[in-house]
Symmetry: C2
Subunit: 168 residues, 2 copies
């Protein structure tokens, strides 16, 4: 396989994964492109490589910066903005985990805890099933949240090495 095809294939694969995980396909593709770029790219580079519009490239780059997966880089003597992706895979995983925890797990946890205030009637089957499920789900999501915290504090070799060895 020649380089241009390998590159296309990689971008496509990452884009597919992104969309399966609720992430905009273009955003995942811009990320893929930057992940394999040996040097900072401009908005124009991204537009050209992925055949997307300026607005699209700009918005997705901005989103990637919000996710802290990409940062702007200034190059002396050039007015253009350049972009680079974080290349350390473990660091990427941590940043994604951190954001998803904040954006998704925490609000759900909060909602579930709030729903635990519902008291209901002891003799009412529907009420009891609700209380039971919401209680168990709340506990579970709480543990998930704590687990992500552990992962955020850990370093990669501890996480994959020590932990997984202990769990076997």
């Amino acid at each position: 396989m020649k380089f241009p095809d390998a590159k296309k294939q990689f971008i496509k694969t990452w884009g597919t994964l992104g969309s399966e995980w609720g992430i905009n396909r273009s955003m995942a593709q811009v990320h893929a492109l930057l992940l394999i770029a040996p040097k900072p790219l401009t908005t124009e580079d991204v537009m050209e490589e992925l055949s997307i519009s300026r607005g699209n490239a700009n918005m997705n780059l901005r989103d990637l910066i919000n996710w802290t997966l990409v940062s702007k880089e200034l190059i002396a003597g050039d007015r253009k903005e350049y972009f680079v992706a974080e290349k350390d895979i473990w660091e990427i995983a941590r940043r994604i985990a951190k954001e998803r925890k904040r954006r998704e797990i925490e609000p759900v946890l909060k909602a579930l805890i709030q729903l635990q205030e519902f008291e209901g009637t002891k003799s009412n089957l529907e009420h009891q099933a609700f209380i039971d499920t919401v209680g168990k789900l709340g506990k579970f999501v709480g543990k998930m949240d704590k687990s992500v915290e552990v992962m955020l504090k850990a370093d990669e070799s501890w996480f994959f090495g020590t932990l997984l060895k202990l769990l076997k």
Copy 2:
């Protein structure tokens, strides 16, 4: 908060989480409804409770069955099909993990391994950056895959117990 509101709130919360994770909002809502149902529901029950069409209810129930999160239940002397959700939260998590591993992680891993066949030119910066990133990503996704395998074999108290104890 009264029961009907708590119920609505729960269904809404679960639906939102679903759509953030690339799952059809209706499918997540049908799941939520079944999770808190004290007894099996029919397609009609689902249609009515969620104000969705017969076709929609049917398709989402079928999808949930494919995910092994819901099963059909026969009630003697009744021609209708009834549906129940798995209620054990750890079991739900395992089944989701199992399916996502199979549908998403494994194909990406396969693609990344295949891309590692690309050899490239030593003096070519682009080639070297590509090889480096794809190699590291492949290793990482491989570890993720293994971790999910561990989780699938573990039981809940072992998994969260060990993990969370190590935090302290």
